[in-house]
C-alpha cells in the first residue's frame, strides 16, 4: 500500500513539475573544433595533414554539423534533504552517490538536463562505415558527440545567465550517471523526470539513451556567489 501511495505521490509530483520543464527544439550548439579533433587522436603541432586529409576532415565536419539536430530539456528541482549518504529531491529522486554529493554539497536545488543530436546523424555514421567510408563516419561520429556536449554547454550557459539574475550560480562541473559511483541506472529516473520521450528519445533495458548521441547531466544551483 505504501508503495502505491508513494507511486501516486511521485506521479503527482511529476505532473506538477511538468510545466517547469524547459524544452529546446533548436539549440544553436556549436561543437568545439579542437575537441572534435582531439577525440580523433589529433595532436596540435604534431599531427600533420595533407590537402586530401584536410578536405576529408572539413567536408565530414560540415556533413556532421548539417546532420546534427540538437534538442534538449532541463528542469530545476529543489533539494528536499541532503545527508552524508544521499540527496533527495522534491520530485522524489534520491541519489546515493558520494561523487555527486560532493558536487551538490552547497546546492539548494539541482538541474537535471539532457540533450540529443537526433537519429539522422547516427544513421549516417553507420551508413558511411557500411559504404567503406569509415574515416568520414568516424569524423561525423566525433562531431555528433561534441555537438551533444555543446548542446548541454549551451543550456548551462543559458541557465547561468538566468540564475545570475537571481543571485545564484551553477556548480562549475556537471555529473552524469555512469560517472564515478553514480550508476547508469539513474538515467531512467532522470529520463522520466524530464519526459524525454517528448524529444523522441528512449531508454534501453540497460539504461542507454537512444538516439546514441544523447547525454544526461546533473548540476547544482548554489546561492553563494561573489559579485556578479
Amino acid at each position: 500500500m505504501d508503495a502505491i501511495i508513494k507511486q501516486m505521490e511521485l506521479t503527482f509530483l511529476a505532473e506538477n513539475f511538468y510545466s517547469k520543464i524547459k524544452y529546446f527544439e533548436n539549440i544553436p550548439a556549436v561543437p568545439k573544433r579542437n575537441l572534435i579533433l582531439t577525440r580523433l587522436g589529433y595532436r596540435n603541432g604534431v599531427t600533420e595533414l595533407n590537402e586530401n586529409d584536410r578536405v576529408l576532415l572539413e567536408d565530414s565536419i560540415r556533413q556532421g554539423e548539417y546532420l546534427c539536430k540538437p534538442v534538449g530539456a532541463y528542469l530545476i528541482v529543489p533539494v528536499l534533504s541532503i545527508s552524508e549518504s544521499c540527496i533527495i529531491l522534491e520530485n522524489g529522486i534520491r541519489f546515493d552517490s558520494n561523487g555527486l554529493l560532493k558536487l551538490l554539497n552547497n546546492s539548494r536545488s539541482v538541474v537535471l538536463m539532457a540533450a540529443t543530436v537526433g537519429k539522422e546523424v547516427v544513421d549516417r555514421i553507420s551508413y558511411e562505415v557500411s559504404q567503406g567510408k569509415a574515416a568520414a563516419g568516424l569524423i561525423i561520429d566525433s562531431v555528433a558527440s561534441q555537438t551533444a556536449d555543446a548542446a548541454l554547454d549551451w543550456m548551462v550557459q543559458l541557465l547561468r545567465k538566468i540564475l545570475v539574475r537571481e543571485g545564484k550560480i551553477l556548480t562549475k562541473h556537471r555529473y552524469s550517471p555512469g560517472y564515478g559511483d553514480l550508476p547508469l541506472s539513474y538515467q531512467e529516473e532522470i529520463f522520466k523526470a524530464l519526459q524525454l520521450d517528448r524529444l523522441k528519445m528512449s531508454l534501453t533495458e540497460k539504461f542507454m539513451l537512444i538516439p546514441e548521441k544523447s547525454v544526461i547531466a546533473i548540476s547544482g544551483v548554489e546561492e553563494k556567489g561573489e559579485a556578479v
Binding site: L40, T47, L49, E51, L56, V129, G167, L184, E223, K224
Partner: protein, 804 residues
C-alpha cells in the same frame, strides 16, 4: 491616450518612469515566496502608497504591478484562471493612484518559457497568453503598455503583436541586455531596436541587468538607428550577493549623475529598475530639471535582421549578396527532402552560402506536391536557429508570406510585391504590419514593361501606396527585372537604365537576379559577371546570386573597392587572403616524377585509395613482381603509417584511410600471389561483436575494418549480441580470436559471461576486449587475453595473439 498624443508628449520633455516595485513591496511587508500579484490584490493600499510616492518624486509613468501577471507565471501559484481579474484589479489600483497626474503603463514581462524555434511553445500560444493579460489591463484602464525585461526577441515580438492586435494604445518595449550587450538568446541592442520598431513599437529601450553606466552605452548604440524614442530603466548598479541576499550598492545621488549622460545619449524616457526607490527617481527629476532630450535627426538606412544580426545595405555600402540556393527549382535532392520533411540540404545550402559570402539568404520552398506554407514555416524556423544571416522570404503566395512574417524572429525582406492587384492589395498591409522591407517588382497585371520609363512609373505608383502605410524609400529595394539578352538585346540596357534612375533620381536601392540575363547563351558566367559589374557601376546595391560562383563573388569584391564602398579595401584583402592554393598541376607533376614503387608507398601513406589500383597495375606492367610490391612497398608503407600513428603525427581518420588504400592495393596483387604460390601466412579468423544490451558499435566497426585491412578474416556479428550466439558462431567458424566491445558500465559485465561460457564449453580461442569503460585490469580480471585502447592497438594485439 493615442499614439500621436504620446509622441507629442515625448517630444517635449524627458518622461520619468517609476522605480523598483518588488523590493518596495517587500519593505512594506510582502513576504518572500508569495505571488506578488495576489498579495497586491489583497493589499491594494500598499501598492497605491508606493506609487503615490513615485508620483510625488517626479514619475510621469507608473507601471502596473503585473510583471508576473501572465497565465504561465500565475499558473505556478495555481492562479492562471484569475489572469484577467487580477490584471484588471491591479491596473485599476495604479489608475487610482495615478489620478490625472500620471500615465499608467500596463506591464507585461517574460512568461519564462521559450518559443519556437528555440523552445517548444508555439508563437501563437504565446501571443494568446499575452492577449489574455492585455484584456485585463485594458479593462483596468491603462493608458499605454510597456513590455519589459524581455530576454528573448521572439517573446518580445509575441507580446508586441498581442497588444497591437488588441488595441491602438502606445507600446514601449524594453529588452534586458547582459554585460556582453546581448539578450539571453543573443540579440544585440541595434538588432533588437530595428526588429521591434519595424514591428510597431512606439518606444524601444532597455532595463534591468546592468547599471546606468553600461546602459548609457546601449542607448548610444541604438540612437543612430532609432526611428522611435528610446527608454532606459537601469538597476542601481551591479548586483552583489551579501550573505545570500542580492544587494545594489549605488547610492541615489551617484545614480542621478547619469541623467545628463542618458539625455546626451538620446534617451526620452528614464526610470529605475532593481534596487531603486523613490529616492532614485527624485534624483532623476532634479538632475533633468530644465533639460530636454536630444532632438532626433533620423538618417535613412536600409537594414534587416535575424535573431542575432543586423545586415545593413544600400548606397555607400558594399553590394549585399542574397544567396539564391534555397530554392527547389532544378534541385532534385532538395525537392525530395522537402517532400519528406528532411533538412540536410537546407542546412548545407545555408552554411555553404554564408561561408562563401552571402549576407542574406533567400528562402523559396514553392514546388508541386507539398504544403508550401508548412514547408516555409519549418524552413524559416530552422534557418532562424542555425544561421545568423537574415532571411529574404520568397513566395508568390501572400498567405505563405504572411505566415512566415508572423513567426520570423527578426525584420525580413519580402521577395516580392508587384503592381499585380492581388499582391498589392493583400501583401502591402501585411508587409507593413510586420515591418518588413520588400523587393518592389515593377510589373503589373499587364505583364513586364519593356522600357525603363514604363517600369519607373510602376515603381512610383507602388511606392506611393506603400508610403500610405508608412514606408520610406530606404525600406524598399527595386528589382531591376533582368530579361534575357539572347531574346532581346535591349533588355539588359533597360535594366541598367532603371537601376541608374533608382540610384540617381528616385533614391532607393536596387536588386537583380543575375542569371536570367545570359539565358540561352554559351559560357553564361562571363555575361553574368560583366552584367554585375555594369549594374554596380549604375548604382546596384544588392544581387541575388549563388555565392559559390567564384567569378561573381570576385567581381563583386572588386566592384566594392572601385566604388569606394569597401573602405580601405578591407573586405577585398580579407576575402582573398589565404585563398592561394598550391597548383594541383604542379603537385601532380611532382608526384609523377617519382618512381612507381615510391608512388605506391606514398598512396598508402596518404590513404589515396583512388589511385592505388592504377599504380599497382602500372607497376605490374613494368614487370615489378607482386611479392616485390607487397614486401617492398605496401608493407613498409603501412608500417610507416603505424609508426606515424604511434607518434601522433597521424590521427585516426588518416590511419583508416591508409589501411583502406592498403586493402584496395592487396585486391590487385592477391590473385597473383596465390597464382605464384607465395601466400605464406595462414588465415586468422576473428569473430567480433558488441555484447548483449549494448547498442554502440562505431568503435567495434572501426576495429573490425582495421583488422580486415591488415589481412585478418573478420566476422562481425554486430551489436547487442548474446553470449550464446557469440560462442556458437565461434565454434562453427573455428575462430582463433573473439573480440568483444562494450561502452557502458551496465554492459561490460556481459564480457565476463561470454568468456565464462567459452571456458565451460572448452573453446580454446583467445579473447581481446575494448571499449570506453574497460581497461587492461578488467581484461585480466575476466580472463581475457588482452585489451586494446584503439583500432591500431587492436591490430597489434591480434597479431600478437595469433602468434601465441
Amino acid at each position: 491616450m493615442d499614439k500621436a498624443q504620446f509622441r507629442e508628449l515625448i517630444s517635449n520633455k524627458l518622461l520619468i518612469l517609476d522605480g523598483a516595485t518588488g523590493t518596495e513591496l517587500q519593505k512594506k511587508g510582502m513576504p518572500t515566496g508569495v505571488c506578488p500579484e495576489k498579495w497586491v490584490f489583497e493589499n491594494p493600499h500598499v501598492i497605491k502608497s508606493i506609487q503615490k510616492e513615485y508620483i510625488k518624486e517626479g514619475s510621469n509613468i507608473l507601471y502596473t504591478c503585473t510583471f508576473g501577471g501572465n497565465r504561465i507565471k500565475l499558473d505556478e501559484f495555481g492562479l492562471g484562471d484569475r489572469t484577467v481579474e487580477l490584471n484588471r484589479s491591479l491596473a485599476s489600483f495604479s489608475r487610482e493612484a495615478a489620478g490625472n497626474k500620471c500615465l499608467v503603463a500596463g506591464d507585461l514581462a517574460s512568461t519564462g518559457r521559450f518559443i519556437k524555434p528555440l523552445g517548444d511553445m508555439s508563437f501563437e500560444e504565446c501571443v494568446n497568453i499575452y492577449k489574455e493579460q492585455v484584456k485585463g489591463l485594458l479593462e483596468g484602464g491603462v493608458d499605454i503598455f510597456v513590455i519589459e525585461t524581455m530576454l528573448d526577441i521572439q517573446e518580445a515580438r509575441a507580446a508586441l503583436l498581442a497588444v497591437k492586435e488588441s488595441c491602438d494604445l502606445p507600446i514601449c518595449v524594453s529588452m534586458s541586455f547582459d554585460e556582453n550587450m546581448r539578450t539571453l538568446t543573443g540579440t544585440d541592442p541595434v538588432t533588437a531596436l530595428i526588429t521591434l520598431q519595424s514591428l510597431g513599437a512606439d518606444v524601444v529601450g532597455c532595463n534591468c541587468s546592468t547599471g546606468p553606466g553600461q546602459m548609457v552605452q546601449i542607448i548610444s548604440m541604438m540612437k543612430p538607428y532609432a526611428r522611435v524614442p528610446l527608454m532606459a530603466k537601469p538597476n542601481a548598479g551591479l548586483p552583489k550577493l551579501v550573505n545570500g541576499t542580492t544587494i545594489f550598492d549605488m547610492e541615489p545621488e551617484e545614480f542621478g549623475e547619469y541623467t545628463k549622460d542618458f539625455l546626451k545619449a538620446g534617451v526620452n524616457l528614464l526610470g529605475g529598475c532593481c534596487g531603486t526607490s523613490p529616492d532614485y527617481i527624485r534624483q532623476i527629476y532634479m538632475k533633468s530639471s530644465g533639460m530636454k532630450p536630444e532632438a532626433t535627426v533620423f538618417k535613412p538606412y536600409s537594414a534587416i535582421t535575424s535573431i542575432r544580426k543586423t545586415v545593413a545595405f544600400g548606397f555607400s555600402r558594399p553590394v549585399a549578396i542574397v544567396g539564391e540556393r534555397i530554392n527547389p527549382t532544378g534541385k532534385k535532392q532538395l525537392q525530395a527532402e522537402l517532400r519528406e520533411g528532411a533538412t540536410h540540404e537546407i542546412r548545407r545550402f545555408a552554411a555553404e552560402q554564408v561561408e562563401k559570402g552571402a549576407d542574406i539568404l533567400d528562402v523559396n520552398v514553392g514546388m508541386p506536391g507539398i504544403d508550401e506554407k508548412e514547408a516555409m514555416l519549418s524552413t524559416v524556423s530552422l534557418l532562424s536557429s542555425i544561421t545568423d544571416a537574415p532571411l529574404c522570404l520568397d513566395s508568390s503566395s501572400p498567405e505563405v508570406l504572411e505566415a512566415a512574417l508572423r513567426i520570423y524572429p527578426g525584420r525580413a525582406l519580402i521577395n516580392s510585391i508587384s503592381q499585380e492587384k492581388v499582391k498589392l492589395e493583400r501583401l502591402l498591409p501585411v508587409a507593413a504590419k510586420y515591418g518588413a522591407m520588400f523587393i518592389l517588382l515593377p510589373l503589373s497585371d499587364e505583364g513586364v514593361p519593356e522600357k525603363a520609363e514604363q517600369r519607373e512609373a510602376i515603381v512610383k505608383n507602388i511606392f506611393d501606396k506603400a508610403a500610405e502605410y508608412g514606408y520610406q524609400k530606404s525600406d524598399v529595394v527595386v528589382d531591376g527585372l533582368v530579361m534575357t539578352v539572347s531574346a532581346n538585346q535591349e533588355a539588359a540596357v533597360e535594366t541598367l537604365n532603371l537601376i541608374a534612375w533608382c540610384a540617381k533620381e528616385f533614391g532607393c536601392g536596387t536588386i537583380v537576379g543575375l542569371s536570367n540575363v545570359s539565358f540561352g547563351l554559351p559560357e553564361r558566367s562571363w555575361v553574368n559577371a560583366a552584367f554585375l559589374a555594369m549594374a554596380v557601376g549604375s548604382g546596384l546595391t544588392m544581387a541575388i546570386a549563388n555565392p559559390s560562383s567564384d567569378l561573381l563573388m570576385n567581381i563583386k569584391m572588386a566592384c566594392d573597392v572601385i566604388t569606394k564602398n569597401d573602405i580601405n579595401s578591407r573586405n577585398y584583402i580579407s576575402f582573398f587572403n589565404n585563398r592561394q592554393k598550391p597548383s594541383a598541376v604542379e603537385a601532380q607533376a611532382k608526384a609523377e616524377a617519382k618512381k612507381i614503387g615510391e608512388r605506391i608507398f606514398d598512396a598508402v601513406l596518404e590513404g589515396d585509395n583512388e589511385i592505388i589500383g592504377a599504380l599497382i597495375s602500372k607497376a605490374l606492367d613494368e614487370n615489378i613482381g607482386a611479392r616485390d610490391i607487397v614486401d617492398n612497398h605496401l608493407i613498409p608503407a603501412i608500417n610507416q603509417v603505424g609508426k606515424l600513428f604511434d607518434e601522433k603525427k597521424y590521427f585516426l581518420p588518416q590511419l583508416i584511410q591508409s589501411a583502406e588504400a592498403m586493402k584496395k592495393g592487396f585486391i590487385y596483387v592477391e590473385p597473383l600471389l596465390k597464382q605464384n604460390g607465395s601466400v605464406q601466412e595462414k588465415e586468422i579468423i576473428i569473430l567480433i561483436a558488441t555484447v548483449k544490451g549494448d547498442i554502440h558499435d562505431i568503435g567495434k566497426n572501426i576495429v573490425a575494418l582495421m583488422l580486415k585491412n591488415y589481412g585478418f578474416k573478420v566476422y562481425d556479428l554486430g551489436k547487442d549480441v548474446s553470449a550464446e550466439t557469440i560462442i556458437n558462431k565461434a565454434k562453427s567458424l573455428k575462430a582463433h580470436i573473439i573480440g568483444l566491445s562494450a561502452l557502458m558500465t551496465t554492459t561490460m559485465v556481459e564480457m565476463k559471461d561470454v568468456i565464462k561460457l567459452a571456458r565451460e564449453q572448452n573453446l580454446s580461442c583467445k579473447f581481446m576486449i575494448g571499449g570506453a569503460v574497460v581497461d587492461a585490469d578488467y581484461a585480466r580480471e575476466i580472463g581475457a587475453d588482452g585489451y586494446s585502447r584503439d583500432a591500431y592497438e587492436a591490430v597489434k594485439l591480434a597479431k600478437r595473439l595469433s602468434k601465441d
